[in-house]
Amino acid sequence: MFQKLSRAVETGDLQNIKSLILQAVKNDLPALEILNRGLLPGIEKVGEKFGRDELFIPEVMLCARVLQEGIDVLRPHLQNNSTSAFKGRLVLGTVAGDIHDIGKNLVKMMFIANGFEVFDLGINVAPEKFAAAIEEYHPHFVGLSALLTTTMPQMAATIKYLDARGLRNNKCLIMVGGAPVTAEFAGSIGADLYADNAIEAVEQAKKAVRG
Protein backbone atom coordinates (compact mmCIF):
# COMPACT_ATOMS: atom_id res chain seq x y z
CA MET A 1 0.00 0.00 0.00
CA PHE A 2 2.79 2.43 0.89
CA GLN A 3 4.41 1.72 -2.46
CA LYS A 4 1.13 2.37 -4.26
CA LEU A 5 0.77 5.71 -2.47
CA SER A 6 4.34 6.66 -3.23
CA ARG A 7 3.87 5.69 -6.87
CA ALA A 8 0.66 7.75 -7.12
CA VAL A 9 2.54 10.87 -6.00
CA GLU A 10 5.52 10.05 -8.19
CA THR A 11 3.36 9.68 -11.29
CA GLY A 12 1.05 12.62 -10.56
CA ASP A 13 -1.99 10.35 -10.30
CA LEU A 14 -4.59 12.84 -9.07
CA GLN A 15 -7.48 10.56 -9.99
CA ASN A 16 -6.61 7.76 -7.61
CA ILE A 17 -4.85 9.39 -4.67
CA LYS A 18 -8.01 10.01 -2.68
CA SER A 19 -9.32 6.46 -2.95
CA LEU A 20 -5.88 5.05 -2.16
CA ILE A 21 -5.63 7.08 1.05
CA LEU A 22 -9.15 6.22 2.12
CA GLN A 23 -8.33 2.57 1.49
CA ALA A 24 -5.18 2.85 3.60
CA VAL A 25 -7.11 4.51 6.43
CA LYS A 26 -9.80 1.81 6.17
CA ASN A 27 -7.04 -0.78 6.50
CA ASP A 28 -6.13 0.84 9.84
CA LEU A 29 -2.77 2.12 8.66
CA PRO A 30 -1.72 5.03 10.94
CA ALA A 31 -2.10 8.40 9.24
CA LEU A 32 1.46 9.46 10.02
CA GLU A 33 2.75 6.23 8.49
CA ILE A 34 0.67 6.91 5.37
CA LEU A 35 2.27 10.33 5.17
CA ASN A 36 5.83 9.39 6.06
CA ARG A 37 6.11 5.99 4.35
CA GLY A 38 3.68 6.51 1.48
CA LEU A 39 3.25 10.09 0.32
CA LEU A 40 6.54 11.74 1.27
CA PRO A 41 8.84 9.10 -0.29
CA GLY A 42 6.88 9.72 -3.51
CA ILE A 43 7.67 13.41 -3.55
CA GLU A 44 11.28 12.63 -2.56
CA LYS A 45 11.60 10.55 -5.72
CA VAL A 46 10.08 13.39 -7.73
CA GLY A 47 12.73 15.71 -6.31
CA GLU A 48 15.45 13.22 -7.25
CA LYS A 49 14.12 12.96 -10.81
CA PHE A 50 14.04 16.74 -11.01
CA GLY A 51 17.66 16.82 -9.88
CA ARG A 52 18.54 14.42 -12.69
CA ASP A 53 16.68 16.57 -15.26
CA GLU A 54 14.18 13.77 -15.81
CA LEU A 55 11.26 16.00 -14.77
CA PHE A 56 10.73 19.70 -15.04
CA ILE A 57 8.83 22.24 -12.97
CA PRO A 58 5.31 21.72 -14.40
CA GLU A 59 5.52 17.95 -13.89
CA VAL A 60 6.90 18.45 -10.39
CA MET A 61 4.04 20.80 -9.58
CA LEU A 62 1.60 18.21 -10.85
CA CYS A 63 3.05 15.66 -8.42
CA ALA A 64 3.02 18.26 -5.64
CA ARG A 65 -0.67 18.82 -6.36
CA VAL A 66 -1.27 15.08 -5.85
CA LEU A 67 0.67 15.18 -2.59
CA GLN A 68 -1.35 18.20 -1.51
CA GLU A 69 -4.59 16.40 -2.30
CA GLY A 70 -3.36 13.40 -0.34
CA ILE A 71 -2.47 15.50 2.69
CA ASP A 72 -5.87 17.21 2.53
CA VAL A 73 -7.63 13.84 2.60
CA LEU A 74 -5.36 12.67 5.38
CA ARG A 75 -5.50 15.83 7.50
CA PRO A 76 -8.58 14.95 9.61
CA HIS A 77 -6.88 11.71 10.56
CA LEU A 78 -3.54 13.37 11.26
CA GLN A 79 -5.15 15.71 13.73
CA ASN A 80 -5.96 12.70 15.86
CA ASN A 81 -2.26 12.06 16.26
CA SER A 82 -0.42 13.71 19.09
CA THR A 83 2.58 14.41 16.85
CA SER A 84 2.28 17.50 14.66
CA ALA A 85 2.42 16.74 10.97
CA PHE A 86 4.01 20.10 10.22
CA LYS A 87 7.73 20.09 9.53
CA GLY A 88 8.03 23.80 10.21
CA ARG A 89 6.59 27.22 9.55
CA LEU A 90 7.51 29.48 6.67
CA VAL A 91 6.76 33.17 6.25
CA LEU A 92 7.05 34.04 2.60
CA GLY A 93 6.85 37.16 0.47
CA THR A 94 8.13 39.05 -2.55
CA VAL A 95 10.26 41.96 -1.34
CA ALA A 96 9.29 45.63 -1.46
CA GLY A 97 9.09 47.14 -4.93
CA ASP A 98 8.69 43.79 -6.64
CA ILE A 99 5.26 42.66 -7.81
CA HIS A 100 6.13 39.25 -9.23
CA ASP A 101 4.69 36.24 -7.51
CA ILE A 102 4.79 33.14 -9.70
CA GLY A 103 8.08 31.87 -8.26
CA LYS A 104 6.96 32.67 -4.74
CA ASN A 105 3.68 30.83 -5.31
CA LEU A 106 5.54 27.76 -6.53
CA VAL A 107 7.71 27.80 -3.42
CA LYS A 108 4.58 28.15 -1.31
CA MET A 109 2.94 25.19 -2.98
CA MET A 110 5.99 22.97 -2.64
CA PHE A 111 6.35 23.79 1.06
CA ILE A 112 2.66 23.14 1.78
CA ALA A 113 2.80 19.90 -0.19
CA ASN A 114 5.81 18.82 1.86
CA GLY A 115 4.07 19.37 5.16
CA PHE A 116 5.13 22.88 6.10
CA GLU A 117 2.79 25.57 7.39
CA VAL A 118 3.08 28.63 5.15
CA PHE A 119 2.13 32.24 5.78
CA ASP A 120 2.15 34.06 2.46
CA LEU A 121 2.52 37.84 2.82
CA GLY A 122 2.06 38.43 -0.90
CA ILE A 123 3.97 40.82 -3.13
CA ASN A 124 5.68 44.18 -2.53
CA VAL A 125 6.25 43.29 1.13
CA ALA A 126 7.97 45.95 3.22
CA PRO A 127 10.57 44.92 5.83
CA GLU A 128 8.18 46.09 8.56
CA LYS A 129 5.58 43.59 7.36
CA PHE A 130 8.09 40.74 7.42
CA ALA A 131 9.06 41.78 10.96
CA ALA A 132 5.44 41.84 12.11
CA ALA A 133 4.84 38.40 10.62
CA ILE A 134 7.88 36.96 12.40
CA GLU A 135 6.61 38.32 15.71
CA GLU A 136 3.15 36.93 15.05
CA TYR A 137 3.89 33.50 13.57
CA HIS A 138 7.35 32.67 14.99
CA PRO A 139 8.43 30.95 11.75
CA HIS A 140 11.37 28.60 11.36
CA PHE A 141 12.05 30.12 7.95
CA VAL A 142 11.51 33.45 6.25
CA GLY A 143 11.55 33.29 2.46
CA LEU A 144 12.38 36.43 0.48
CA SER A 145 11.67 36.41 -3.24
CA ALA A 146 12.78 38.87 -5.95
CA LEU A 147 12.60 38.56 -9.71
CA LEU A 148 14.60 41.59 -10.72
CA THR A 149 18.16 42.75 -10.19
CA THR A 150 16.67 46.12 -9.30
CA THR A 151 14.73 44.71 -6.36
CA MET A 152 17.42 42.38 -5.06
CA PRO A 153 18.84 45.16 -2.84
CA GLN A 154 15.52 45.08 -0.99
CA MET A 155 16.47 41.59 0.19
CA ALA A 156 19.55 43.06 1.84
CA ALA A 157 17.50 45.92 3.29
CA THR A 158 14.96 43.47 4.71
CA ILE A 159 17.63 41.28 6.32
CA LYS A 160 19.30 44.36 7.77
CA TYR A 161 15.98 45.54 9.18
CA LEU A 162 15.25 42.17 10.77
CA ASP A 163 18.77 41.95 12.21
CA ALA A 164 18.53 45.44 13.67
CA ARG A 165 15.40 44.38 15.54
CA GLY A 166 16.92 41.14 16.75
CA LEU A 167 14.27 39.12 14.94
CA ARG A 168 16.71 36.71 13.37
CA ASN A 169 18.21 34.11 15.58
CA ASN A 170 18.99 30.43 15.37
CA LYS A 171 15.30 29.64 15.33
CA CYS A 172 14.49 31.71 12.26
CA LEU A 173 16.53 31.19 9.11
CA ILE A 174 16.30 33.52 6.15
CA MET A 175 16.12 31.95 2.72
CA VAL A 176 16.41 33.96 -0.50
CA GLY A 177 15.67 33.06 -4.08
CA GLY A 178 14.47 34.33 -7.44
CA ALA A 179 15.68 34.33 -11.03
CA PRO A 180 18.60 36.78 -10.65
CA VAL A 181 19.61 35.71 -7.13
CA THR A 182 22.79 33.68 -6.75
CA ALA A 183 24.40 31.80 -3.88
CA GLU A 184 27.15 34.43 -3.83
CA PHE A 185 24.64 37.24 -3.52
CA ALA A 186 22.79 35.35 -0.79
CA GLY A 187 26.04 35.00 1.13
CA SER A 188 26.97 38.62 0.64
CA ILE A 189 23.74 39.90 2.20
CA GLY A 190 23.87 37.49 5.11
CA ALA A 191 21.07 35.14 4.11
CA ASP A 192 21.16 31.75 5.85
CA LEU A 193 19.90 29.70 2.92
CA TYR A 194 19.73 30.02 -0.84
CA ALA A 195 17.81 27.91 -3.31
CA ASP A 196 17.87 27.94 -7.09
CA ASN A 197 14.29 26.71 -7.41
CA ALA A 198 11.20 25.70 -5.42
CA ILE A 199 12.21 22.07 -5.11
CA GLU A 200 15.67 22.92 -3.84
CA ALA A 201 14.11 25.40 -1.40
CA VAL A 202 12.14 22.60 0.24
CA GLU A 203 15.21 20.38 0.36
CA GLN A 204 17.23 23.15 2.02
CA ALA A 205 14.50 23.67 4.60
CA LYS A 206 14.21 19.95 5.31
CA LYS A 207 17.97 19.70 5.80
CA ALA A 208 17.92 22.66 8.17
CA VAL A 209 15.03 21.14 10.15
CA ARG A 210 16.89 17.85 10.43
CA GLY A 211 19.93 19.82 11.54
Binding site: G12, D53, F56, I57, P58, E59, M61, L62, A64, R65, Q68, G97, D98, I99, H100, D101, I102, N105, L106, M109, L148, T149, T150, T151, A179, P180, T182, N197
Partner: protein, 229 residues
Amino acid sequence: MLFSGELPATRELGIRKAEVLRYLGYKAGKHHLSGRIRQILEEELENARELITPRGYFGILEAAPLCREKLFRDAEKVAFGVCTIGDALEKRVEKLFEQGEAVRGLILDAIGSAAAEEAAEMLNQEILHWSRQQRLRVTRRFSPGYGHWPVGGQDLIFGLLTEAPDRTGVALTPAKMMIPRKSVSFAIKLGRGRLEEINKGSCRSCALFGRCSFQIQEGACARKLGGED
Protein backbone atom coordinates in the same frame (compact mmCIF):
# COMPACT_ATOMS: atom_id res chain seq x y z
CA MET B 1 7.08 62.93 -32.98
CA LEU B 2 8.05 61.84 -36.48
CA PHE B 3 5.68 58.94 -36.67
CA SER B 4 3.50 56.96 -34.29
CA GLY B 5 1.26 53.96 -34.46
CA GLU B 6 -0.84 51.57 -32.47
CA LEU B 7 -1.40 47.86 -32.17
CA PRO B 8 -5.13 47.27 -32.64
CA ALA B 9 -6.82 45.35 -29.83
CA THR B 10 -8.47 43.15 -32.45
CA ARG B 11 -5.09 41.84 -33.60
CA GLU B 12 -4.76 38.14 -32.79
CA LEU B 13 -1.42 37.14 -31.36
CA GLY B 14 0.17 34.01 -32.74
CA ILE B 15 1.49 32.51 -29.53
CA ARG B 16 4.28 30.03 -30.18
CA LYS B 17 4.11 26.89 -28.07
CA ALA B 18 7.87 26.62 -28.22
CA GLU B 19 8.20 30.01 -26.59
CA VAL B 20 5.72 29.06 -23.87
CA LEU B 21 7.75 25.92 -23.18
CA ARG B 22 10.92 27.97 -22.94
CA TYR B 23 9.29 30.20 -20.31
CA LEU B 24 8.32 27.03 -18.46
CA GLY B 25 11.96 26.01 -18.41
CA TYR B 26 11.87 23.16 -20.92
CA LYS B 27 14.97 22.72 -23.01
CA ALA B 28 14.91 21.46 -26.59
CA GLY B 29 15.75 17.78 -26.86
CA LYS B 30 16.31 17.49 -23.12
CA HIS B 31 12.86 17.33 -21.62
CA HIS B 32 9.94 15.20 -22.64
CA LEU B 33 6.58 16.88 -22.23
CA SER B 34 4.17 14.58 -20.40
CA GLY B 35 0.72 13.93 -21.81
CA ARG B 36 -1.01 15.68 -18.91
CA ILE B 37 1.09 18.84 -19.24
CA ARG B 38 0.58 18.82 -22.99
CA GLN B 39 -3.19 18.59 -22.43
CA ILE B 40 -3.21 21.47 -19.93
CA LEU B 41 -1.07 23.54 -22.28
CA GLU B 42 -3.55 23.01 -25.12
CA GLU B 43 -6.51 23.85 -22.88
CA GLU B 44 -4.92 26.98 -21.49
CA LEU B 45 -3.84 28.17 -24.94
CA GLU B 46 -7.50 27.98 -25.85
CA ASN B 47 -8.63 29.68 -22.62
CA ALA B 48 -6.04 32.42 -23.07
CA ARG B 49 -7.70 33.64 -26.27
CA GLU B 50 -10.45 35.34 -24.29
CA LEU B 51 -8.06 36.66 -21.67
CA ILE B 52 -5.70 38.49 -23.99
CA THR B 53 -6.42 41.99 -25.25
CA PRO B 54 -3.30 43.29 -26.96
CA ARG B 55 -2.71 47.02 -26.94
CA GLY B 56 0.40 48.77 -28.06
CA TYR B 57 1.69 52.19 -28.98
CA PHE B 58 4.96 53.35 -30.47
CA GLY B 59 6.50 56.66 -31.41
CA ILE B 60 9.57 57.52 -33.46
CA LEU B 61 11.52 60.62 -32.48
CA GLU B 62 14.65 62.47 -33.52
CA ALA B 63 17.58 61.21 -31.47
CA ALA B 64 19.36 64.59 -31.18
CA PRO B 65 17.59 65.63 -27.95
CA LEU B 66 18.72 62.32 -26.44
CA CYS B 67 22.41 62.86 -27.23
CA ARG B 68 23.30 62.99 -23.54
CA GLU B 69 22.06 59.42 -23.22
CA LYS B 70 25.09 57.24 -24.00
CA LEU B 71 22.87 54.47 -25.33
CA PHE B 72 21.51 56.63 -28.15
CA ARG B 73 24.67 58.51 -29.21
CA ASP B 74 25.00 56.79 -32.57
CA ALA B 75 21.29 56.96 -33.46
CA GLU B 76 19.60 59.41 -35.81
CA LYS B 77 16.17 58.49 -34.65
CA VAL B 78 14.80 56.37 -31.82
CA ALA B 79 11.60 54.37 -31.68
CA PHE B 80 9.99 53.73 -28.30
CA GLY B 81 7.22 51.22 -27.78
CA VAL B 82 4.91 50.11 -24.99
CA CYS B 83 2.56 47.16 -25.27
CA THR B 84 0.53 44.86 -23.09
CA ILE B 85 -1.91 41.97 -23.20
CA GLY B 86 -4.10 43.52 -20.50
CA ASP B 87 -4.73 42.31 -16.97
CA ALA B 88 -7.41 39.62 -17.47
CA LEU B 89 -4.87 36.83 -17.90
CA GLU B 90 -2.86 37.69 -14.79
CA LYS B 91 -6.06 37.92 -12.74
CA ARG B 92 -7.00 34.44 -13.94
CA VAL B 93 -3.51 33.20 -13.02
CA GLU B 94 -3.93 34.61 -9.50
CA LYS B 95 -7.29 32.88 -9.19
CA LEU B 96 -5.88 29.56 -10.38
CA PHE B 97 -3.13 29.72 -7.74
CA GLU B 98 -5.71 30.59 -5.08
CA GLN B 99 -7.71 27.53 -6.14
CA GLY B 100 -4.64 25.32 -5.85
CA GLU B 101 -4.39 24.92 -9.62
CA ALA B 102 -0.73 25.88 -9.66
CA VAL B 103 0.18 23.92 -12.78
CA ARG B 104 -2.54 25.58 -14.81
CA GLY B 105 -1.59 28.95 -13.32
CA LEU B 106 2.07 28.43 -14.14
CA ILE B 107 1.31 27.41 -17.72
CA LEU B 108 -1.16 30.25 -18.28
CA ASP B 109 1.39 32.70 -16.89
CA ALA B 110 3.98 31.43 -19.37
CA ILE B 111 1.42 31.82 -22.16
CA GLY B 112 0.94 35.42 -21.01
CA SER B 113 4.68 36.06 -21.13
CA ALA B 114 4.91 34.63 -24.63
CA ALA B 115 1.87 36.69 -25.70
CA ALA B 116 3.36 39.93 -24.34
CA GLU B 117 6.58 39.25 -26.26
CA GLU B 118 4.54 38.53 -29.38
CA ALA B 119 2.74 41.85 -28.96
CA ALA B 120 6.15 43.54 -28.71
CA GLU B 121 7.26 41.69 -31.83
CA MET B 122 4.25 42.98 -33.75
CA LEU B 123 4.91 46.54 -32.66
CA ASN B 124 8.55 45.97 -33.60
CA GLN B 125 7.46 44.88 -37.08
CA GLU B 126 5.47 48.12 -37.53
CA ILE B 127 8.61 50.07 -36.67
CA LEU B 128 10.68 47.97 -39.09
CA HIS B 129 8.12 48.62 -41.81
CA TRP B 130 8.49 52.38 -41.32
CA SER B 131 12.28 52.18 -41.15
CA ARG B 132 12.44 50.25 -44.44
CA GLN B 133 10.38 52.94 -46.12
CA GLN B 134 12.83 55.53 -44.77
CA ARG B 135 15.84 53.37 -45.75
CA LEU B 136 17.10 53.38 -42.19
CA ARG B 137 19.01 50.67 -40.41
CA VAL B 138 17.70 49.45 -37.07
CA THR B 139 18.98 47.67 -33.97
CA ARG B 140 17.25 44.88 -32.09
CA ARG B 141 14.77 46.16 -29.55
CA PHE B 142 16.10 46.61 -26.03
CA SER B 143 14.26 47.17 -22.80
CA PRO B 144 14.87 48.92 -19.48
CA GLY B 145 15.97 46.50 -16.81
CA TYR B 146 17.46 44.02 -19.27
CA GLY B 147 21.06 43.70 -20.39
CA HIS B 148 22.75 47.06 -20.42
CA TRP B 149 19.83 49.44 -19.88
CA PRO B 150 18.96 50.12 -16.22
CA VAL B 151 15.30 49.98 -15.28
CA GLY B 152 15.37 53.76 -14.82
CA GLY B 153 15.07 53.90 -18.61
CA GLN B 154 11.34 53.48 -18.06
CA ASP B 155 11.19 57.17 -17.12
CA LEU B 156 12.63 58.09 -20.50
CA ILE B 157 10.16 55.94 -22.42
CA PHE B 158 7.09 57.00 -20.49
CA GLY B 159 8.31 60.61 -20.33
CA LEU B 160 8.55 60.79 -24.11
CA LEU B 161 5.60 58.58 -25.00
CA THR B 162 3.18 60.61 -22.94
CA GLU B 163 0.20 59.09 -24.69
CA ALA B 164 1.28 55.51 -23.94
CA PRO B 165 -0.65 55.11 -20.66
CA ASP B 166 -3.92 56.26 -22.23
CA ARG B 167 -3.49 54.28 -25.40
CA THR B 168 -2.30 51.05 -23.78
CA GLY B 169 -3.55 51.16 -20.19
CA VAL B 170 0.01 50.52 -18.98
CA ALA B 171 1.14 52.41 -15.87
CA LEU B 172 4.45 52.51 -14.00
CA THR B 173 4.77 51.67 -10.32
CA PRO B 174 7.16 53.76 -8.14
CA ALA B 175 9.71 50.93 -8.63
CA LYS B 176 9.37 51.41 -12.43
CA MET B 177 7.53 48.20 -13.04
CA MET B 178 4.67 48.05 -15.45
CA ILE B 179 1.10 47.26 -14.58
CA PRO B 180 -0.43 45.12 -16.07
CA ARG B 181 2.55 42.87 -15.46
CA LYS B 182 2.39 41.24 -18.88
CA SER B 183 3.63 44.37 -20.62
CA VAL B 184 6.77 45.20 -22.57
CA SER B 185 8.46 48.55 -23.11
CA PHE B 186 11.39 48.96 -25.46
CA ALA B 187 13.53 51.15 -27.65
CA ILE B 188 15.01 50.64 -31.13
CA LYS B 189 17.75 52.80 -32.58
CA LEU B 190 17.45 53.91 -36.21
CA GLY B 191 20.02 55.52 -38.49
CA ARG B 192 21.90 55.41 -41.79
CA GLY B 193 25.28 54.58 -40.30
CA ARG B 194 26.51 51.71 -38.18
CA LEU B 195 24.45 51.28 -35.02
CA GLU B 196 25.82 49.54 -31.98
CA GLU B 197 23.56 46.83 -30.63
CA ILE B 198 22.80 47.40 -26.96
CA ASN B 199 22.30 43.74 -26.18
CA LYS B 200 24.67 42.05 -28.56
CA GLY B 201 23.02 38.66 -28.55
CA SER B 202 19.62 37.90 -27.14
CA CYS B 203 21.27 36.08 -24.23
CA ARG B 204 25.04 36.43 -24.38
CA SER B 205 25.18 39.99 -23.14
CA CYS B 206 23.07 39.27 -20.06
CA ALA B 207 24.59 39.06 -16.59
CA LEU B 208 22.68 35.81 -16.07
CA PHE B 209 24.16 34.15 -19.16
CA GLY B 210 25.04 30.54 -18.46
CA ARG B 211 22.77 30.05 -15.49
CA CYS B 212 19.39 31.40 -16.58
CA SER B 213 16.58 28.87 -16.81
CA PHE B 214 14.96 30.74 -19.67
CA GLN B 215 18.05 30.95 -21.83
CA ILE B 216 17.67 30.43 -25.53
CA GLN B 217 20.02 27.57 -26.24
CA GLU B 218 23.04 27.70 -28.47
CA GLY B 219 22.25 25.97 -31.73
CA ALA B 220 18.75 25.17 -30.60
CA CYS B 221 16.71 28.33 -30.73
CA ALA B 222 13.70 28.43 -28.44
CA ARG B 223 11.51 28.69 -31.51
CA LYS B 224 12.40 25.11 -32.36
CA LEU B 225 11.43 23.79 -28.93
CA GLY B 226 8.59 21.32 -29.04
CA GLY B 227 8.64 21.48 -32.80
CA GLU B 228 4.88 21.77 -33.00
CA ASP B 229 4.23 25.33 -34.04
